[in-house]
């Protein structure tokens, strides 16, 4: 288990009430959300040509093989882009603004990118290129339970320990 994990409604980055993540209706992406429950970060990969692919699809965009798997990757990346939201796009967010959303590039997964929240000070200066580490945020009391993959600047992690 990752040493930075939250499982307390008070410590979820955003309040509960936002849509619960679910796989596609046809099952696509189920392995990703199951792995997140186990605090493991996985990215889709082609078994034939080894191309990384994200978001998931039913076919490899490079060699058109249908033989795909979800491969574990180190929960580390760099900030590729970011935004600070001030307008509450959902009633649940009324008292949660501003908040930070980052796009994280995973160099060890062929540059695949993941969206998550950047934990910590909501007014912090965000630096594109900064190293971040995944934090698995459990929502055990949701129906159904799920786990989000959040991010934290590595320098902050080291300062805390």
């Amino acid at each position: 288990m990752n040493r930075h994990s939250y499982n307390d409604d008070r410590t979820h980055y955003l309040p509960s009430g936002l849509p619960v993540p679910a796989p596609y209706a046809d099952g696509l992406a189920r392995e990703f959300w199951e792995a997140a429950r186990c605090h493991e970060l996985v990215v889709q990969r082609c078994i034939r040509c080894l191309t990384w692919q994200w978001g998931p699809e039913h076919i490899c965009h490079h060699c058109r093989s249908f033989a795909l798997t979800y491969e574990p990757v180190a929960p580390r990346g760099v900030i590729y882009s970011w935004e600070r939201s001030w307008y509450p796009v959902h009633p649940t967010l009324k008292d949660a603004v501003p908040y930070l959303t980052v796009l994280v590039e995973l160099p060890q997964a062929g540059g695949a990118r993941m969206v998550g929240n950047l934990l910590g000070d909501r007014l912090q200066v965000v630096t594109i290129g900064a190293e971040v580490e995944a934090v698995f945020e459990d929502h055990d009391h949701a129906n159904p339970p799920f786990t989000l993959v959040q991010w934290r600047v590595v320098a902050d992690v080291e300062a805390d320990s």
């Binding site: 955003l14 849509p19 796989p23 590729y80 935004e83 501003p98």
Partner: protein, 393 residues
């Protein structure tokens, strides 16, 4: 096969718009407004509505052509076509489909229309109120990334970082639209000028977008009528010949969870060369540009990707003076556009481009020969179109 081009083969001969309302304020249902805009376009063109034999729309318009044809009592519906995906990015693509239908003889008189009543239906600017986010939405919505502004701010932030763009570049686009809207009585923001201080002091929606970087949300409907160039010569209005109209989407731009390989883009890189090749012109030949503003950052990248300036020239080029209709180097969004006239999903931009050819804009650029429209940056597909006072300039 010879001559596989739309260049100069068709023209827009009529335009129609309902009154434009603040979101939720329209007194009429969306379908009724769509009919009204279509009839106004017929009247403007000087044709009987029964001559219409085709309809094209985009962004999954809810008003379907068979119902419209039945409502209007049309004798023969020969073309019923939707641009798939892309929201406002389908605007010029819809003109392309109408022109293609006319040029190939599928139909003779094709209406391109869009009806929008966000009061009657869900708003664009807010997230869906669903219990679960399945599929691609699962990778964004639970993290509070739910609105178009948030989807596009992420791309724009990356472009701004890569090219060291200042906030003033985005501000210039907003100030231009508001300045032009002050001369346009149809504009929702007519009589509500915007100053640099007003922009700077406005609240953030999502950084780097202030309130004034975001399009309006409105109710109304708009329509234009496309027919053959031969027929257009003898009609009531001066024709706006369709010199080029193309759509497209570059490599894996629709990859989900923000994974388009080329990310900091408005998605016009593959389209713009095809657009200019079909038209047989260069960017410097364009007299006036209507460039879809979902958000100012998209306008910025669109102008760059259509070759009007290089990324490293944005800070210098993007000034209100350069975009002003009177003496600007690139007169931009001369009706006030999506930011200040009305968010009619960019079809109002096509209508303004036609007005510039006719010489009837409230911000008329002198002697317009080439009038261009860019539809829907940062979506998939996007589209662009070029109109001309002559079928073969």
């Amino acid at each position: 096969m010879v001559d596989r081009t739309l260049r100069g083969k068709t023209a827009i001969i009529g335009v129609g718009e309902t009154r434009y309302y603040k979101r939720g304020d329209a007194p009429d249902p969306e379908f009724k407004m769509a009919l009204e805009a279509i009839l106004l376009a017929c009247e403007d063109a000087g044709i009987d509505a029964r001559e219409v034999d085709g309809f094209v729309s985009y962004s999954n318009d809810r008003n379907d052509p068979p119902r419209i044809a039945a409502a209007l009592g049309l004798p023969d519906l020969r073309c019923s076509t939707m641009v798939w995906g892309g929201g406002g990015g389908g605007g010029s693509g819809a003109v392309a489909n109408a022109a293609a239908a006319v040029a190939t003889g599928l139909a003779d008189t094709v209406v391109v229309f869009r009806g929008l009543a966000q009061g009657q239906f869900r708003r664009y600017g807010q997230g869906a109120r669903t219990q679960t986010a399945s599929g691609a939405g699962a990778f964004t919505a639970p993290y509070g990334l739910m609105s178009p502004a948030q989807s596009f701010a992420m791309r724009v932030r990356r472009f701004i970082w890569e090219h060291h763009i200042g906030q003033e570049a985005l501000r210039a686009i907003a100030l231009t639209s508001y300045a032009h809207a002050q001369r346009n009585p149809r504009a929702v923001m007519y009589g509500r000028p915007l100053t640099s201080e007003g922009y700077d002091d406005s609240r953030w929606i999502v950084e780097p977008f202030h309130l004034y970087d975001c399009c309006l949300e409105n109710d109304g409907a708009a329509a234009v009528i496309v027919t053959s160039a031969e027929r257009a010569k003898d009609m009531k209005q001066k024709p706006a010949y369709v010199l080029a109209a193309v759509q497209g989407s570059a490599y894996r731009q629709a990859a989900t969870a923000h994974n388009a390989p080329d990310y900091a883009t408005s998605n016009f890189k593959t389209l713009a060369p095809r657009l200019y090749a079909m038209a047989g012109i260069e960017p410097q030949d364009v007299d006036v540009l209507q460039c879809y503003e979902n958000f100012t950052g998209g306008v910025m990248m669109s102008i760059v990707e259509h070759g009007f300036c290089r990324p490293q020239e944005v800070n210098e080029f993007f000034t209100p003076a350069n975009f002003f209709f009177d003496g600007g180097r690139l007169p931009l969004n001369t009706s006030g556009g999506n930011l200040a006239e009305c968010y009619m999903h960019g079809l109002e931009l096509v209508i303004e481009a036609v007005r510039q050819i006719r010489g009837t804009s409230s911000c008329q650029v002198p002697d317009v020969k080439i009038s261009m429209v860019v539809s829907g940056p940062m979506v998939q597909p996007v589209s662009s179109s070029i109109y001309c006072a002559e079928p073969n300039p």
